[in-house]
């Protein structure tokens, strides 16, 4: 049998190299790079922790179905991840809170997935964020997460589980993956970046995140977040004082115009349908505008004026809804970076929220 030359591979083309030097050399380079990174991160006080991933989310999503009418699904983006205290929720409501927040993503795909899922019979607490509702991120991971769950919910084979466990083992052991970061991000933001942002976030096994703002470089982080929200800047402008940057932000805020409300109006019917579907299964949906402070609050007030957005939403979506501005205890809470609460405030916030919504002993 002959092999046509056009498709053959032959031994003649195999490189004859000093393999005992080349391959160990390559592996040594990798080990050296990983060791240097890990040592650098250790020196900066970074600790390995559980990883944030679609796998961790799917595990919680599965819990939401398994808990029946005891489930209280927390849906939204970073605020619900950082601001809510699951232990307090559990104790004060008698429900089983399940953390389904996804950083930087809109709540609608997950809410819709829960509404359409015949296995979900619980209630939902939504972090109502108009910026992501009106202008969803270009790539909405939440939709992918929900699709992944729907596609793999009945998988019983162990391949995915083995992969999950191996991944968690590796990523949970290395500082380069701490806080769900990629090693490239850890290199850029933790080893090469100035000022050196310490590890102020701690991811808990239930996916909640604790933010300790006493470890952050302030006011750098506050101005950085504000400027990023204002114009998408990747960093503070070099050579300017914080006062000058503050002036820059304030003049930017003064020029902000209200956003077009038509995307909200388009979404309202679907939201009403989702709320009705969850209520029909015995659950309830609670919408909450989470606390903001300083420049971030001012920007949101300008872009999403209350009469156009909040008032209309509260009037047209038949579900309990609460704006932090309407509850003095919540309005008084201070977000160090403008958007999120320090972990020491989570309990206070959660307790005040439940009281304001009359959610004690729900079941």
């Amino acid at each position: 049998m002959s092999v046509p030359s056009s498709t053959s591979s032959s031994n003649l083309r195999l490189p004859k190299l000093r393999w005992n030097e080349v391959l160990p050399g390559a592996v040594a380079l990798l080990l050296m790079a990983v060791s240097v990174m890990e040592a650098g991160l250790a020196l900066r006080g970074i600790r390995p922790n559980p990883t944030e991933s679609v796998r961790a989310w799917v595990q919680q999503r599965s819990r939401a179905d398994a808990m029946g009418n005891k489930a209280l699904a927390l849906v939204g983006s970073s605020r619900i991840l950082l601001d809510t205290d699951l232990q307090a929720l559990r104790e004060e409501t008698g429900m089983q809170p399940v953390q389904l927040g996804i950083e930087g993503n809109s709540f609608t795909p997950v809410l819709h997935g829960l509404a359409m899922d015949p296995a979900f019979h619980g209630s939902v607490l939504v972090d109502l964020d108009f910026p992501t509702l009106v202008t969803p991120p270009r790539y909405d991971a939440a939709a992918d997460y929900e699709r992944y769950y729907q596609a793999h919910r009945d998988d019983r084979f162990t391949y995915a589980r083995i992969e999950d466990q191996l991944t968690d083992l590796v990523r949970g052991s290395l500082r380069s993956y701490a806080d769900g970061s990629r090693p490239s991000t850890a290199l850029r933001d933790r080893l090469l970046h100035q000022p050196d942002p310490a590890q102020y976030l701690k991811v808990l096994p239930d996916r909640s995140i604790l933010a300790d703002y006493s470890k952050t470089p302030m006011p750098y982080l506050y101005y950085f977040r504000a400027l990023r929200d204002l114009d998408g800047s990747a960093d503070l402008p070099p050579g300017k004082s914080y006062r000058q940057i503050g002036d820059l932000i304030e003049s930017g805020i003064a020029g902000l115009q209200p956003q077009d409300d038509s995307p909200l109006l388009v979404q309202l019917p679907a939201l009403r349908t989702d709320v009705a579907a969850i209520r029909a299964k015995g659950g309830q949906v609670y919408f909450v505008v989470f606390p903001r402070s300083g420049y971030v609050r001012e920007m949101d007030d300008r872009r999403f004026p209350r009469p156009l957005f909040w008032d209309r939403f509260a009037a047209e979506v038949p579900a309990p809804a609460l704006n932090f501005e309407d509850v003095p205890t919540l309005a008084a809470l201070y977000c160090p970076d403008g958007s999120h609460l320090d972990y020491r405030q989570r309990g206070v916030f959660t307790h005040a929220l439940l009281q304001a919504m009359h959610l004690g002993a729900m079941r």
Partner: protein, 470 residues
């Protein structure tokens, strides 16, 4: 099981260790067969039955064809093999597609037919192992190879895990002789095999998934884009699909080498091609040669005059397009390539692919080929004509400035340019030759750099290889 998963790393370490330790060629083959079925079952265990059925049937039919002296009986047996294999492929891959199109066609005739939703899960790799398996029965029918392969050898040929789910499409005549004789990887095979796996994984995880995919995904999710972003996405997809599939092929070839088996090349710097015929001699080579030998030539090839040749080319490419998936968009993509090949043949005669006379002409032809191939990926990537149309329209929209992700876009442009230059520089030499020219220190640095880059880019959610869906 994905090559770029930790589970596969453990799986490979166990299988490779046992392969080196256990004595006896028969036992080693059995180990590889069991490992290959475990590899396949990791995705969807019940579907190994389809693989086993297809394998058993083709092995038995080929044996009957080989034993039979009656041309009629041989032909009937071949037809049974074709019907069974293409029937399985048709049912699983094209069942829903056929029903939906029947419904549309009947609606045009004012007949209201509600197609049932079959909700069929496509067995992964079925297009690849069906073509590999068919090459055996057809070659035995043509008396080009013997049909006496032992069942164990044949089953291992079909299911050998490096090529099972996404190729290269290895033919029986290439792999069966290797399976017949005891093999153990030589030092050079093992060394180069591991190099290929490292380079392949780097190409997939760093270039395809990290540099190109985010730009492409974001652009196709939001089609209100200007020219800068649209071109970034279109060029990016060219880079993504090449790096994804060529990366997978390198891994497959490298893994097979680690066990002492040699697979054919699947890519030879296709974006350095001088014309479309040259492109198809460099892109997914095992598919294009399969289509050439088992479709284009039986359709008449170039033996029945000029116009029949064009027809054969276009028909072959239409079917080649459909092979990629049950969608008219793939058919459109294949049809366009068929037209390019026919037009090129018309303009240049049968000797297409001959280098142009000057460097400038050669360079212009290469860039032209790349741009046309790149634009033709639009219907391949888009799910419908509307999306394809909007993406195509975006290429000429100079009103919208780039909205977001400027850094990622610029990196995508730079990576595409670098890829093109790399392919142009290397198109007439092999990767092996290029690598061998480096000093040992540089070789270690290149491979180490690939490993470090893979580490740095790890941590996101893993993406499946694009060609798994085909």
């Amino acid at each position: 099981m994905l090559f770029n998963s930790l589970t596969f790393l453990v799986f490979f370490a166990i299988v490779f260790g046992l392969y080196r330790l256990i004595p006896g060629w028969g036992t080693k083959k059995l180990l590889l067969l069991v490992a290959s079925y475990v590899f396949y079952a990791a995705w969807n265990p019940p579907y190994v039955l389809i693989l086993a059925f297809s394998t058993t049937l083709d092995w038995w039919l080929a044996r009957m064809i080989w034993k039979s002296d009656s041309p009629r009986a041989r032909r009937v047996l071949l037809v049974v093999s074709l019907v069974a294999n293409l029937g399985l492929l048709g049912f699983f891959k094209y069942g829903d597609f056929l029903l939906q199109n029947t419904q549309r066609l009947l609606a045009l005739l004012d007949v209201h037919y509600a197609a049932p939703a079959l909700d069929i899960v496509l067995p992964i790799g079925i297009s690849f192992y069906t073509f590999a398996s068919l090459s055996y029965t057809i070659d035995v029918y043509r008396k080009e190879i013997e049909g006496d392969a032992p069942f164990l050898d044949y089953a291992l040929f079909v299911s050998f895990f490096p090529h099972l789910v996404a190729g290269p499409i290895v033919r029986a005549r290439q792999l069966l002789p290797q399976i017949k004789t005891p093999r153990s990887a030589s030092r050079d095979q093992l060394g180069w095999g591991l190099c290929l796996v490292i380079i392949g994984l780097f190409t997939k995880t760093v270039l395809a998934d990290t540099l190109f995919a985010p730009v492409v995904d974001a652009a196709y999710a939001d089609l209100t884009l200007g020219a800068f972003e649209s071109w970034g996405a279109v060029l990016g997809f060219s880079g993504q699909i090449y790096c994804d599939f060529a990366g997978y092929s390198l891994c497959a070839i490298g893994l097979a080498l680690c066990f002492g088996f040699e697979f054919p090349d699947n890519f030879r710097y296709p974006y350095g091609a001088r014309g479309f015929a040259d492109f198809w001699r460099r892109w997914h080579i095992t598919l294009s040669t399969w289509l050439r030998d088992y479709l284009y030539i039986p359709l008449g090839g170039n033996r029945h005059g000029e116009w029949r040749t064009y027809l054969s080319l276009i028909l072959t490419m239409l079917i080649g397009g459909l092979w990629h998936g049950a969608s008219w968009m793939f058919v459109l993509w294949g049809g366009l390539h068929g037209i390019y090949l026919a037009v090129e043949r018309r303009l240049r005669g049968a000797e297409s692919g001959v280098p142009s006379s000057s460097h400038v002409q050669d360079w212009m032809l290469t860039v032209f080929t790349f741009l046309v191939v790149t634009l033709t990926w639009i219907p391949f990537r888009a799910h419908d004509t509307q999306t394809a149309g909007r993406m195509f329209g975006g290429l000429f929209d100079l009103q919208h400035p780039a909205a977001q992700g400027l850094d990622a876009l610029l990196i995508c442009y730079a990576a595409t340019a670098a890829l093109l230059v790399w392919q142009w520089m290397n198109r007439d030499i092999s990767l092996e030759e290029r690598f061998q020219r480096f000093s040992p220190t540089l070789q270690a640095a290149v491979l180490g750099g690939c490993l470090v880059a893979m580490f740095l880019c790890s941590g996101g959610d893993e993406r499946a290889f694009i060609y798994f869906q085909f």
